[in-house]
């Protein structure tokens, strides 16, 4: 059983309320930080912890924090990214819904470390009831002196607000999020300047994922070195994985990043195996934008080594034979699923979510969606597969923000690993509308627990 840092108390009866949360040791980190630590010392602990951003890119949080510009007389802001809209990802929701005070606590400590006196949690608009939960938690925290003026007599002031989005995946991109928070369209900004220099209302700003902020709490409580002892290599600490698709136990799991992918899928502690006694065909291990992997490459790397649930191992082999940890959205496909159809729905998603600012993404995502639909419905041509490849290649890397890449990668990986399935659709136009490509040669050997 792996160690839990974030969700350990998530199921304590009444943990959503301040009293229970506090009784279980909540807000200790704020006491410690405000009474005995300097902001820089906290940044130092976060650096030592090796914590990497949990929003998808995996950028070292301590380093990000140290980049924040600190010009005299200019306010700085911390914004928590709770936009969570990457298909397959629903971990932040779980954390906020069940243990909201953990995020509030993390926001207070992190705001103190960064010198923000006014911080925001930007939450996706659809999570309306979670907004209420968070606002309730903020009220309670404020009533108990953890927010507001002169917190714990330290002279530090902080106001914390929850801002609701209104339906736009792109607002998860940090500069689009800032635009949206300013009451504008969610068009990503052209960088540089980066938010650390010019962010919210043109002031220096740090944007961090919910899970990242929450992880600061155990780091401050136990020290960065303690945190870094958990996990493997540069994948320190614990990670929330939201598992979905054709598995027996979809849900959110906090893992120690030393477990293998195989264990994660098949053990009863986690996904509990493939649903309905089926076999594993493929998996998108880090949210819809990371490359899909066929079963054989998922469980073992190209070198034949065991693949683990951590940043390094999941990306082993690069895009040719590996994937990414991404946001931790773990999507499993069983042997009956159609990769072409799955890729089509993702392409539709990215077309729907493109902000439309730059031409490769605006035009390319729609084009890919149309071709994929044709292939999926048996109207495709062989040359369409190469055309798709070429389109994704011309989007990738050529756009303003990484949504272009996010739209290109799933298409590229699907063609790379499942080209025969695309070809089968082209060659069997009548059949492919009636049944799925049923060859199970991607599927793993049926797992026998040791």
């Amino acid at each position: 059983m792996g160690r839990k840092l974030l969700l350990e108390k998530a199921h304590v009866e009444g943990i959503r309320t301040y009293e229970v949360y506090r009784r279980e040791g909540g807000y200790r980190s704020v006491e410690k930080a405000l009474k005995s630590m300097s902001p820089d010392a906290i940044v130092e602990e976060v650096k030592k912890s090796g914590l990497r951003g949990r929003g998808g890119a995996g950028f070292p949080t301590g380093m990000k924090w140290s980049f924040l510009a600190k010009p005299e007389g200019v306010p700085r802001y911390l914004v928590c990214n709770a936009d969570e809209s990457e298909p397959g990802t629903f971990k932040d929701r779980y954390l906020m819904e069940f243990i909201p005070h953990l995020l509030i606590e993390g926001m207070i400590v992190s705001s103190f470390a960064l010198g923000s006196n006014r911080s925001y949690i930007y939450i996706r608009g659809e999570y309306a009831w979670i907004t209420d939960i968070l606002e309730q938690a903020i009220e309670e925290a404020k009533a108990n002196g953890w927010l507001g003026k002169n917190i714990l007599g330290s002279g530090y002031d902080l106001e914390l607000y929850v801002q609701r989005g209104a339906g736009a995946y792109i607002c998860g991109e940090e500069t689009a999020l800032i635009e949206s928070l300013e009451g504008k369209r969610g068009n990503p900004r052209i960088k540089p300047p980066f938010p650390a220099i010019k962010g919210l209302w043109d002031c220096p700003t740090v944007v961090n994922n919910v899970e990242t902020i929450a992880a600061v709490v155990p780091i401050v409580n136990d020290g960065g070195e303690e945190y870094a002892k958990i996990g493997a290599g540069k994948s320190t600490g614990t990670k929330l994985i939201s598992a979905c698709g054709n598995i027996n136990k979809p849900g959110v799991y906090e893992i120690d990043m030393t477990i293998s992918v195989e264990e994660f899928i098949y053990s009863d502690e986690y996904c509990g195996g493939i649903a309905n006694g089926k076999r594993l065909k493929a998996c998108i291990p880090g949210g819809s934008s990371v490359p899909i992997l066929p079963a054989n490459l998922l469980l073992k790397t190209a070198k034949g080594e065991t693949r683990y649930m951590n940043y390094e191992s999941l990306s082993d082999g690069g895009f040719a034979t590996g994937s990414m940890m991404g946001s931790g959205g773990f999507i499993v496909l069983d042997e009956d699923q159609c990769v072409v159809k799955n890729t089509y729905t993702l392409a539709r998603f990215y077309r729907h979510e493109s902000c439309g600012q730059c031409s490769p993404c605006r035009e390319g995502t729609g084009w890919m969606e149309k071709i994929l639909l044709n292939i999926e419905q048996g109207r495709g041509k062989m040359s369409d597969i190469d055309l798709l490849w070429d389109i994704q290649r011309k989007i990738e890397g050529n756009t303003i923000c990484p949504l272009g890449d996010a739209a290109a990668w799933p298409v590229a990986a699907a063609i790379r690993h499942f080209r025969d399935e695309f070809e089968w659709h082209v060659n069997n136009p009548d059949e492919c509308t009636k049944r799925n490509y049923g060859l199970a040669h991607y599927a793993d050997p049926i797992y026998v627990p040791a």
Binding site: P87, R118, F349
Partner: protein
């Protein structure tokens, strides 16, 4: 036509929303205020409502239109009393969302994007709502309805009809 104006309770909420930003940054309240306006004035944003919001935040109407048309949660047309927003993205599709969408459509006699003639139900397909592990799912009002089955869909439709009848 009644005048578009927040009532006292809505006005209090409006004041709370605009107070959350530094001086001169009240435009930042636009998204939350549009949510409030949509909830206050019949579930959608008419151009009169948008102009009212622009006026209240002292910004140009175009700034409101630009934003209202960008985000999917703002309805620019009237919708049914109950809006079924069913997710159709990959993870939900893998768990049978297509069948659920078809079933709801059949049951209500409408296609995605349409509203029933009695103005009771609108069916809409949406992209991932962050409930992939509880698929298939839909959003109904403020809350999510998850792990949908045909039976559950029947119950939900029943429940809506009952509630509508009780409110009349």
């Amino acid at each position: 036509m009644t005048m578009i104006r927040f009532n006292d309770k809505q006005e209090a909420e409006f004041q709370r929303l605009v107070s959350r930003y530094p001086e001169g940054k009240q435009k930042s309240a636009l998204l939350p205020v549009l949510h409030l306006a949509q909830d206050s004035f019949g579930g959608w944003l008419s151009s009169e409502v948008m102009d009212y919001v622009a006026d209240r935040l002292s910004i140009k109407p175009i700034e409101v239109y630009e934003v209202a048309t960008f985000y999917t949660m703002y309805n620019l047309k009237p919708i049914g009393k109950y809006l079924f927003e069913v997710c159709q993205t990959g993870p939900c599709m893998l768990r049978g969302s297509d069948d659920i969408i078809a079933y709801i459509g059949e049951k209500l006699g409408i296609k995605p994007g349409q509203t029933t003639e009695d103005g009771m139900f609108t069916l809409k397909t949406v992209e991932c709502l962050g409930a992939c592990g509880y698929a298939p799912m839909m959003q109904l009002g403020k809350f999510y309805r998850e792990h949908l089955t045909k039976e559950k869909v029947d119950q939900i439709i029943e429940e809506c009809r009952r509630n509508a009848a009780a409110n009349n």
